[in-house]
Amino acid sequence: MLPRALLPAFTAALVLFTATACGRKEPAPTGGPAPKILLFGNGAEPQDLDPQTVTGVPENKLLNAFFEGLVSYGPTANDTVGGVAERWDISADGTVYNFHLRAEAKWSNGDPVTAQDFARSYQRILTPSLGAEYAYKFAPVIGAEDYQRGTLTDFSQVGIKALDARTLEIRLKHPVPYLLEAMKHYAWFPVHIASVEQHGGLTSRGKAWTRVENFVGNGPFVLKSWRPNQVIVAERSSTYWDRAAVKLDAIHFFPTENLDTEERMFRTGQLHKTYELPAAKIDVYQRDFPDSYRSDVYYGSYYFRFNVTRKPLDDVRVRRALSLAIDRESLARNVVRGGQQPAYGMTPPTEKYTARARLTGDLTEARRLLAEAGFPEGRGFPRIELLYNTQDNHRRVCEALQEMWRQNLGIEVGLINQEWKVYLRSMDTLDYDMARGGWIGDYNDPNSFYDTFVTGGGNNRTGWSNARYDQLLRDTGRAPDETARMELYQQMEEIIVQELPIMPVYFYRKVYALSPLVHWPANPLDNQNWKFVHFKE
């Protein structure tokens, strides 16, 4: 009978279709010598292109193409090179910086970039009505916080002054040895004041100056087109002072929120670089496409917060027992699988600083501590919940932890999964027992991590407080030299490792697919000075 004959044929066709569709296929990146257009997976659609009101990583990539601050990222990992400033002087006490601007620095409309542009831009970001979320990055500058809060209205009292068209002076409350590192952040970028004024005014958010037809920047690339949720096209600027060093003709930024879609785009040559790789594809790329697989150091920690205001987690012995009873090596190797380094402390190691203190102990110690806290072999241990935000990777890590604690300590830990903003709200209100967390350094300095756990800090979110820790953090601002400052951080790390407001799990890596045609300098902050990105000859 025909129908019966047809069913196997149908099944065979389906199987054949699926088999061929899933077959191995080399990524086929396109591009090359002419024109040199980089096709770049940029994660999410940017909120806006105003460096003084946006927050976020996708925005960061774009703003680094369209703007340039006083200093910038260099060609290798942690370099700091001059941006608009060709040089700078720092006073002997480390509190006064004089930046000397390049004569040839220009905006994309041909106007010169002046010290007044910087001063007025910094005044703009500190203006209360703008509501700039990153205004706090200017906190070390004299008067900046007061101006931002509205308690100081005379900007001339703020430690930012254009001494002349090409000299900008910045006065600090205390020495900030990592200031130049921090100034690479886009909050410190200038905006073209005349354009901003013309299209909506300086002191209010969400105006039309960032639209393609009105946009003026000073970076190596200019905004050519912006099709929301499709592509943002950046073309090489003809007015950028170092245009000869810019190797790419254009960058096409694709918003690629879905990692699987993005990976398929890479395989069809629609992208030269993905934002990330889906965890499920890591093994495939390592095995089949090693030339396209990249796993770079990323300056961040993945950890779990303890709510130290809740029992039994208010007992450091319990926190230590939980922290010692997990197998970080196995988690990194078998669950996360991107070459992540198991973490036994909070702060990721760098060339500049490696924390001495380290969580040490074994399973026997963990069991002993738990018994000492009143829960021998886990008996009587109240059920606690592990909170994480919706993401596959977090779920898998949490499930593995749950199993490790069950096996090693005999305790039951529940899992709660919340949507992103609900999860943030739960952390803010301390409505959790343990919660997944993480921190990526804003700048290449351990301060970026230690600052997080200051008493009452908005990013602390554990209820933990330690007066000595807070004092040490304050002392770092007065440390006589870098060695002394790093020593203070070492002591802070010791406190963290002893008291464990968090349970460190691993140090991040940035795992992505990159066309072998592209030279992409790795950077622990995953920030690029786009002029150092190019197609290989």
Binding site: P128, A135, Q148, Q270
Partner: protein, 305 residues
């Protein structure tokens, strides 16, 4: 009929009012706000941002102010995309969703109706089995499986299409097929069922006895009645298909309104959530109205009530 249509259109006003009111308060009571962020915002900065968007006002005042704005056709600024208004976002994204939906609807109707008619007319033959199996597959295989499968085969393996995007006419093919296929499956099954029911009725036997040709019986007598269940399905179906599909738009990276709608809820972009809800509610109301009119036209025994 005009009175019927006008009356129904007037009825939409309280419906939309209730929907807007319920949505307005529901989104405000969801934990987390538009500016809740991983890196904490200092409280004084947060207050300034909220003041800019009027979120520092009492809720009832925000509500009244929003209603006043909406009555003037202004859906407000997006909280997430700060240099765009909700009106602009909808004007930008809706045509994309309509285009995708229109193409998918065409696929669904052509494939679904022809397979459905064929299956009913050739009942219990291999044609019927093929059509029914296809229909079953379309219903069982979710779009998030079918879409990537089509991409793997036609984009990655054969290299005929891009894996995603909405740039060239060819970029329309795979998403339209994926979205259309699911609806085609439903339409096929409904058409088949409806046609079979009509084909078994007495007037068809009478027509056959009078010597009407098979083509005339199918297309003149049976199809009109057989399409009734399809038309009823198309009301909400068309609204859904035209306003896009979050899954399809995500898989194929299509800048449509469906994705914006879902993301706006995740972002707590209050005004964008409300704007898209108003639009979707209006579309559903209009589609259902059109369906009612078409149903009466197809079946004169029904009356405009």
């Amino acid at each position: 009929m005009l009175r019927f249509v006008l009356r129904r259109l007037l009825q939409t006003i309280p419906v939309l009012f209730i929907i807007v009111t319920a949505t307005f308060f529901m989104v405000r009571f969801v934990p987390g706000g538009p500016f809740t962020a991983e890196k904490a915002i200092p409280p004084e900065i947060l207050r300034n941002i909220e003041a800019h968007y009027g979120l520092d006002q009492p809720l009832w005042r925000q509500y009244l102010s929003y209603l006043g704005q909406v009555l003037q056709g202004d859906l407000g600024p997006s909280f997430k995309y700060s240099n765009r208004t909700v009106n602009e976002i909808i004007a930008d994204k809706l045509p994309v969703s309509l285009e995708l939906g229109g193409l998918a609807l065409a696929v669904a109707l052509v494939v679904g109706l022809s397979l459905g008619v064929l299956a009913a007319v050739r009942r219990n033959t291999w044609l019927d089995y093929v059509a029914s199996t296809t229909g079953l597959l379309g219903i069982c295989v979710p779009t998030f499986v079918l879409g990537p499968l089509l991409v793997l085969f036609f984009a990655i393996h054969l290299g005929w299409f891009n894996a995603s995007g909405w740039f060239t006419p060819a970029d329309r093919v795979l998403p339209s097929l994926t979205l259309g296929f699911v609806y085609a499956a439903y339409i096929m099954r409904l058409t088949r069922g409806g046609m079979l029911e009509v084909l078994n009725q007495d007037f068809i036997r009478t027509a056959r006895a009078k010597g009407a040709t098979e083509g005339r019986i199918v297309f003149r007598h049976a199809l009109r009645g057989g399409l009734l269940p399809v038309v009823a399905f198309l009301g909400p179906g068309v609204a859904g298909i035209l306003t896009g599909s979050f899954v399809i738009e995500t898989i194929f990276q299509i800048p449509g309104l469906g994705r914006e709608f879902v993301n706006s809820a995740f972002n707590r972009d209050y005004t964008l959530v409300l704007g898209t809800v108003i639009l979707y509610a209006s579309l559903i109301v209009i589609c259902n109205l059109v369906v009612d009119v078409v149903q009466v036209w197809l079946n004169p025994r029904l009356k405009f009530e």
